[in-house]
Amino acid sequence: MLTLAILIPILGALFLAFMPNTSHSAARIIAVATSALTFLVLLIVWAGFDTGAGAPAFQFYAEAPWIPALGVAWRVGVDGMSLALSLMSAFLFIGCIAWPMENPERPRAYYAWFLFLESVSLGLFMVLDLLIFYVFFDLSLVGMFFLIGRWGHGDAQGAALKFFIYTLAGSLAILLAIIGLVLTMDPITFDMRALIAAQPLAGMDLRGGLILLGFVAGFAIKAPLFPVHTWLPPAHVMAPGPASAILAGVLLKMGTYGLVRIPFQMMRDTFADYALPLALVALASILWGAIVALGQTDLKRRIAYTSVNHMGYTVLGIAAAGALLSGSESAREMALTGAVVEMVAHGLITGALFLIAGGFWARAETYDMDAYGGLAKVAPRLTTAAVIASFASLGLPGLAGFVAEVQIFVGTFAVFPLIAAIGLLGILITAALFLRLLQQVFFGELPKAREGFPDVSLREGSILAAILALVILIGIYPRWLLDLIGSSTSAIIGG
């Protein structure tokens, strides 16, 4: 079933790639239908997913041999965390694929790359084999490289190249760490479940530290955390709007998901030893991301830097959850649940924000905030969407971001009280920067050049409405999401 969800988009991509003479609209319909079908498959998986206490950690498990000599096989399975992320990704992909692109050059290829990326993203969240995890991790770079380079604007090639090389460096650090990890198993295996059960690095200080360093460095680049976040702003600014939304909404989650799944779960002892430095890095990202975002005058750069800030919250939650091997279980579980909810919430909220930013480019070809003002008068629906998304991003109660952040901070206070207290400053700055953004762009005086600024079209509007409705739903009634995620976090915390 899970394999099917990974296969459907890739088959759709191949179909589009090899079907000549498909018109733009036909290509889009095929792509949207494919991604909707994938989402449907995942909904069926969700319906059959058992969140009860006695349920197995990984469900819908399936396996097929690939390289037995190295202990590599196609293994898929989901727990609450990966299922939640997969659902969010599949949902966001529908929106991003359906988002109107004004005449993309070579539309077939454009939609094919999106479907390819969807397949890769879902695969990454659902495989339970370290090597294939790495395969998907790398493929996500290839897909994004071509999307940014071909359909971006400005110095898109330079940004794509920088993104590709920077993140490949991270993924090779992960590869070396994976090798170091699996070499401790006898016989050698890449099976994640076996590695989680074996905890092969317990009691190995130096080696464990080096391997952890490899993983953290690689995932920190992907997430991205301060100080290895510098690839992110150019990649976002040059990328087309929907690609930015996927990059921020889905690809960044690969870093934080990997951090939980691999170092956290497979090398508990070592992770606990180094949780404090990791929390400090997260704190630096929270503050740095917020402060630098405040200083940006470019709309998309500002949103991009808030990603650094939000991923900082996520990692802070993860670090707090993994800091102890026993004791304050409920607080740590809360921190981890909060971190996973933050991944889902940030995916939806930032996805929406980047789609909105893409809309700005399509209308006026500039991201400079000074070029806008008073848009509330001419584009009330766009304003509503932007206000909801911004408030969700700054953590207003009743919206998804709040649910995540409150849990992260409550959980972290039990483990790292001081860091949590300083981290709260980040929320304050984020609030300021989003309020100023709204004030600058949507209120105040309307420049002459923007008087004909069109409001969101029906299609744009319904995509944004769907995403934001989910954000509000999670904000006021998070129960269903917390149940799903909570079914895995207690297992992850408890060992």
């Binding site: 390289i67 490289f145 380079g149 794509a160 490949l168 090779l172 590869l175 070396l176």
Partner: protein, 469 residues
């Protein structure tokens, strides 16, 4: 003498002679028929080699090794040569000496095969010489074109020097150890006798001689010139096929010495590090496609040396060596097939917008480059994975880290080309060569992916292999 042990090699010689006879008597328009003769000879040799499956022994008075390493390497050599033959008919169609080309190519193939199987220092010397002499001819085949002649000349000068070093090294080893047979040398060295600084010099000189064929530091300088100036089928051949034989020859040589003695492993590790770093740095700002592949091929030789370094230190070293050279061969031959299919166009700016005019060609090029970088799901990824695994297992973590850093660096120049083909606008009509090279290109591109999916059985086969002595 069990003559049947060298039937595959005899088949190649016979095919070379038949191809020459055919070329002498056939009219100009039928010269391409010699390619069919050569392909038939290769097919027969492959069958004969497969009959040797499972053998692990020395034969011909300990001069010829029959083992898994030699078996798989010779298969790769033959398949690689067959691939280059597919590129040739279109390329040499107007060449008056078209038919003879296949004879020389087969003899060069034989040289590579004998390198892989050599179990004796003198046998190794003869193999290197055979491979070199034919190699110069292949490189300088377009004798009216200055660049081709220059490539052949540089190759020859470098070759003359390194062959002289090889012979000096072999002489020193013979003098110090009293034998040229690997089996006897191994026994002597295992007892710890005969170790001296002079022996280290002997080994170092011999290794340099073989490194020349591998295109590794310090005898690598010919490679970019040959890649640029030689006819593209020759360039494809010379940057891949002799390297396969040389890699196995080097592995045998290194395995003579127990890992902890004589400091040979650190020497190879340093050569590996220098080769990959130099190759990648030199490839950075190349504006010539063939030269770029040439330098990348130097860098790849550095990765090959990683597996040689840990031979005997890690149980998977031989598996990794075979897996990596197979993956390298597929990736590099495919990249050259693309160049050949595009009629040898080589300025990077000529690749602008390739994807818009010839999407299939661009796709194959990108796949082959991704494989050379080692990005999944290509076969190059599995080769590199095996290499990293075995290097870390063998205790050379620093080498693996350096190789990873080099991989990141190499992505820069590969991605620069990929970016051009996809993101820029085409400059004019892009002409292509014949159907034969086109199909070779497609086969190569498909193999990059298919081989990765079928890698499970290859790893089983490689793991069951041994390398003598």
């Amino acid at each position: 003498m069990p003559i049947s042990d060298v039937f595959p090699e005899i088949a190649i010689i016979v095919a070379a002679v038949l191809a020459l006879l055919f070329a002498v008597f056939a009219p100009r328009r039928l010269q391409a028929g010699a390619a069919l003769v050569a392909l038939a000879g290769i097919a027969i040799a492959i069958v004969l080699i497969l009959a040797q499956l499972g053998e692990t022994r020395f034969t011909f008075s300990n001069t010829w090794a029959l083992d898994g390493a030699s078996l798989w390497a010779r298969l790769m050599i033959l398949l690689g040569a067959a691939f280059c033959i597919l590129l040739s008919p279109g390329w040499f169609r107007t060449d008056p000496r078209h038919g003879e080309y296949y004879t020389i190519l087969l003899l060069a193939t034989l040289g590579a095969m004998t390198m892989a199987g050599a179990g004796d220092l003198l046998q190794l010397t003869i193999a290197v010489l055979l491979s070199s002499v034919t190699g110069y001819t292949l490189a300088a085949w377009h004798r009216d074109w200055a660049l081709s002649v220059e490539a052949g000349m540089k190759y020859f000068l470098m070759g003359a020097l390194s062959n002289a070093l090889l012979i000096t090294g072999v002489t020193l080893m013979l003098g110090l150890l009293g034998s040229t047979a690997y089996a006897e040398i191994k026994t002597t060295l295992a007892l710890g006798t005969g170790l001296s600084p002079l022996l280290f010099v002997g080994f170092a000189l011999t290794i340099t001689g073989v490194a020349f064929k591998l295109g590794a530091v310090p005898a690598h300088a010919w490679l970019p010139d040959v890649a640029e100036g030689a006819p593209v089928p020759s360039a494809a051949f010379l940057t891949v096929v002799p390297k396969i034989g040389a890699a196995i020859a080097l592995a045998r040589l290194v395995q003579l010495v127990p890992p902890e003695m004589l400091g040979l492993r650190p020497l190879i590790a340093v050569l590996a590090a220098a080769t990959m770093t130099l190759g990648n740095l030199a490839a950075f700002w190349q504006d010539d496609m063939r030269r770029l592949i040439g330098w990348s091929s130097v860098a790849q030789a550095g990765y090959v040396l990683m597996a040689v370094t840990v031979l005997g230190l890690s149980p998977d070293a031989l598996t990794a060596l075979l897996a990596f050279i197979a993956s390298y061969a597929i990736g590099n031959l495919t990249a050259f097939a693309v160049v050949a299919y595009l009629r040898g166009r080589t300025a990077l700016s000529d690749y602008d917008g390739l994807a818009k005019q010839r999407p299939l060609v661009a796709t194959v090029l990108v796949i082959s480059f991704l494989s050379l970088v080692g990005i999944p799901p290509t076969v190059g990824f599995l080769g590199k994975l095996a290499l990293f695994l075995t290097t870390i297992e063998g205790g050379y973590l620093w080498l693996a880290v350096l190789a990873a850093a080099n991989t990141v660096a190499s992505l820069f120049y590969y991605a620069r080309v990929m970016g051009r083909t996809y993101f820029n606008e085409p400059q004019g009509h892009i002409a292509v060569l014949d159907r034969s090279s086109g199909s070779a290109m497609v086969i190569g591109g498909a193999l990059v992916i298919v081989a990765a999916l079928l890698a499970g059985s290859a790893f089983v086969a490689f793991e069951a292999s041994r390398i003598l002595p």
